[in-house]
Amino acid sequence: MPISATNKNGQSLLHIDGDMTIYTAADMKSELMTHMAQPCEREIDLSEVSEMDSAGLQILILAKREAEKHGTSLRLTGHSRAVLDVLDMCNLASYFGDPVVLSCNENKGQ
């Protein structure tokens, strides 16, 4: 399963591993939405996302919007290079509103 969930102090921590592309989008969506249905604060760790395309981006946007609709918060953390590239290109970093941190390792390229 590309998404693993852990619970930490009542906060749900989702960890996405692998590609967020058109090939994984359908599974990714249904899985992510199941998690989103639970009313709690949520954090998605994107550090292991190796590739992202428009389909993946749509899933992230959908998640963010669902969270807003349910009045819960959604934070994205540990953006990988692939994710940052996409958010940068689409000028969406401010929409998600999460602090973006680049680690030295990532900076040197994966």
Partner: protein, 730 residues
């Protein structure tokens, strides 16, 4: 080849010639402003269109050569090759060769001759130096009409950026394309100044299909690329997607249209356009404040689009800023769109028919007068008024501005100047002056001769100019204006002028002027139009002036025109060509001598007076009259044309003027104005002096059209001979 295709080919040939002319103009413009991206784009498009259309007709020689030119131009456009004089020279020559190809391959359906092939080989080698040898890229895709780029008028927004609105179709991703990859590719063509991702179309989670695309982008893009290239980026996504590309400085209304055509709400889009800088700060403030104050009673606000259009003040300022940037070529492009292409012979046919109508109308009027039936006369007079209007309208159809002819000389002046090592600037004024198309076609050669002459012999070399305190750069001026029913074309140079004494000496040697007579300067200068002056000896003696000037004069005379020359030593020479506006129909003044009728062009008639008994007696001794204290030389038409029968009891004098000289024509009868359809005289009459053509009267009789300039000249000459012989006697 089927008839339809043949017609299409004719259209292609005509268009290719126009495009090549545009290309040449643009190249010359580029010489003074090498970085003008619009001009470079225009040249590229011209070559591209010629190549593309040639491909349709299978004109391979054109395709293969033009392809190289296009390739080089593409690199110029991308900034890989810098515009420099040598490149422009090569491109100009390539343009000439392309024209040759069009003329030979497309128009005549023949193969190039050996010379042309050799020339092409040379050009190919020179072009290759500018070509990218590593790879052959050709990814330009022709898109729908690029009219927005070239349209003028309306409010233009100030931004320099392209605005691209994308709403991808739902199936884009399923078809194996990633919208993001289009953006990546786009960013290789320029700079994405700002981008807003639109996901308003994203449905709620349950309805969303993860494999459908719901994304859209509003992009402001800075690029030198042309619309075709930018549109080409999205070529594969075009199906099912909404793609709007607004070029820099598009009209405000086009933005409004864009806002309306997109799925999102107008207010939201308006704000996005404003924050991304697609619309200016001014437009933002004006638009938004208006929006707040103009909230409608029902709570809704005026759509931003409407406000932006209503915002006349903003539009006005924007127009001011944008107007400066509109280049000539854009203007002429938008003008072109208002034209209909009509075959010249159809127009000629129409004018011929109008000519017949004029003659038939004259017949009706004449009959109406004879039967003295008042209502009939009235009807006939109304009809002839209308015929006159139709005549003017039809003739106006054939009028074209002389500017096109003048502009051709930009290239001539550039090339000849270079050849002679002189820096000469061509200044064109009065380019809007119109004249008959047939005249325009025939005036090109004489003009060419005069322009070359002025450059070669008129304007001095830079060293001499500097020594005489003139600016090093010579100026050649082409000017045109209307003057009493004729058009005057002037070729003015600021060179050394003519050597009056030399010409006078020469004229005396050749017996053109009697040894003891000194005619006015103007007359002396005009001697160089005499055939005797166009000899090799004259060239050296007169610093070359006079080469083939008699030919120029003959050509212009054939157009019923005149040519004269004025010169001031050290200041330059002015050659004035005076031509009738049209060669087909004129307003004439009908006069009678004995039983014959003659026509004098009305524009040249100054006044009519009665020949008094005193004058008539005096006329046997001297050939001039006293016109209110002025000496008026005259010609007795009865004697001149040897009309049979004795003179009428009363005679009249028609005072005509031509190029500043007046003369009287003595006739028996004044018959009034007459619309004259000019019919050429047969070849056997070509040597006849004093007659320029014929026409048919309402009664079916033939009337001769008098060649007033030559009659005036004759009268003046005889008069001065008369005076000089008397001087000798005394």
């Amino acid at each position: 080849m089927s008839l339809d295709l043949d017609q299409a080919l004719q259209t292609y040939i005509a268009e290719a010639r126009e495009l090549l002319q545009d290309m040449e103009d643009s190249l010359l413009r580029l010489e003074s402003d090498p970085n003008d991206a619009d001009t470079i784009g225009a040249i590229f498009r011209a070559a591209h269109t010629i190549k593309g259309s040639a491909g349709l007709f299978g004109l391979d020689p054109i395709v293969s050569f033009t392809h190289i030119v296009e390739d080089v131009l593409d690199r110029v456009r991308d900034g890989d090759v810098v515009i420099e004089p040598n490149l422009i020279a090569v491109l100009l020559e390539s343009g000439d060769h392309m024209l040759h190809l069009v003329n030979v391959v497309a128009a005549q359906g023949e193969k190039l001759d050996a010379d042309a092939i050799k020339r092409e080989g040379g050009l190919r080698i020179r072009l290759q130096a500018y070509q990218d040898n590593s790879s052959e890229v050709s990814h330009a895709i022709q898109v729908e009409a690029e009219i927005p780029l070239q349209s003028s008028g309306g409010g233009l927004v100030e931004t320099d950026n392209w605005h691209i609105s994308l709403r991808f179709g739902q199936n884009v991703m399923r078809d194996g394309m990633d919208p993001l990859s289009f953006l990546r590719y786009l960013s290789t063509l320029g700079e994405i100044v700002s981008i807003t991702t639109m996901f308003d179309a994203l449905p709620i989670a349950d309805e969303m299909d993860a494999e459908s695309c719901y994304l859209g982008f509003e992009i402001d893009f800075k690029s030198e690329a042309d619309k075709a290239t930018i549109a080409g980026v999205f070529e594969f996504a075009r199906e099912g997607s909404l793609i709007h590309i607004l070029p820099p400085h598009s009209k405000l209304t086009e933005y409004v249209e864009l806002i309306r055509s997109l799925p999102e709400s107008e207010t939201r889009l308006g704000e996005i356009l404003v924050t991304t800088g697609a619309l200016t700060q001014q437009e933002l403030e004006a638009g938004l404040s208006e929006q707040q104050t103009s909230a409608r009673p029902d709570g809704s606000t005026t759509p931003l689009g409407e406000i932006l259009v209503e915002q006349r003040s903003v539009e006005h300022e924007v127009v001011q800023a944008a107007l400066d940037k509109q280049t000539q070529s854009k203007d002429s492009k938008s003008k072109e769109n208002r034209y209909i292409r009509v075959q010249a012979d159809k127009l000629d046919e129409l004018i011929n028919m109008v000519g017949e109508l004029v003659i038939a109308g004259a017949g009706v009027s004449l009959l109406a007068q004879r039967v003295s039936d008042n209502p009939l006369q009235e009807a006939a007079s109304v009809m002839s008024g209308l015929v006159e209007e139709i005549r003017d309208g039809a003739l106006r159809l054939r009028m074209v501005p002389i500017g096109e002819t003048f502009n051709r000389f930009q290239r001539v002046v550039r090339d000849v100047g270079r050849e002679l090592g002189k820096d000469i600037e061509l200044v064109i004024t009065g380019a809007d002056t119109e004249l008959d198309k047939t005249v325009v076609e025939k005036i090109g050669d004489p003009l060419m001769h005069l322009v070359r002459n002025a450059m070669d012999h008129g304007i001095e070399s830079a060293a001499i100019r500097q020594a005489t305190g003139k600016s090093v750069k010579g100026t050649l001026r082409l000017n045109a204006y209307h003057d009493s029913g004729s058009i005057v074309i002037e070729i003015v140079d600021d060179g050394g002028g003519l050597n009056r004494d030399r010409i006078l000496q020469k004229a005396r040697d050749r017996g053109l002027i009697a040894p003891n007579v000194t005619p006015p300067d103007q007359e002396i200068y005009n001697m160089i139009f005499e055939a005797g002056f166009s000899t090799a000896e004259a060239i050296t003696n007169l610093s070359g002036r006079g080469v083939g000037m008699d030919v120029v004069k003959r050509n212009i005379t054939a157009l019923r025109g005149t040519v004269s020359l004025d010169s001031a030593v050290g200041q330059g020479t002015t050659v004035s060509i005076r031509l009738p506006l049209t060669l087909a129909i004129i307003d004439g003044f009908l006069v009678g001598v004995g039983k014959s009728s003659y026509i004098v062009p009305l524009d040249m008639v100054h006044e009519c007076i009665e020949l008094t008994e005193n004058d008539r007696q005096a006329a046997s001794e001297r050939s001039y009259l006293n016109l209110r204290g002025e000496v008026l030389p005259f010609v007795m038409l009865r004697d001149h044309f040897e009309v049979e029968g004795s003179g009428a009891r009363r005679a009249n004098v028609v005072v005509v003027s031509c190029a500043g000289q007046k003369a009287g024509l003595v006739v028996d009868e004044l018959m009034g104005e007459f619309q004259t359809v000019i019919k050429p005289l047969g070849k056997i009459f070509s040597t006849l002096r004093g007659i320029s053509g014929s026409t048919i009267l309402g009664s079916g009789e033939v009337a001769l059209i008098l060649d007033v300039p030559s009659l005036v000249q004759q009268a003046v000459n005889r008069e001065s001979q008369h005076v000089s012989t008397r001087q000798v006697i005394h």
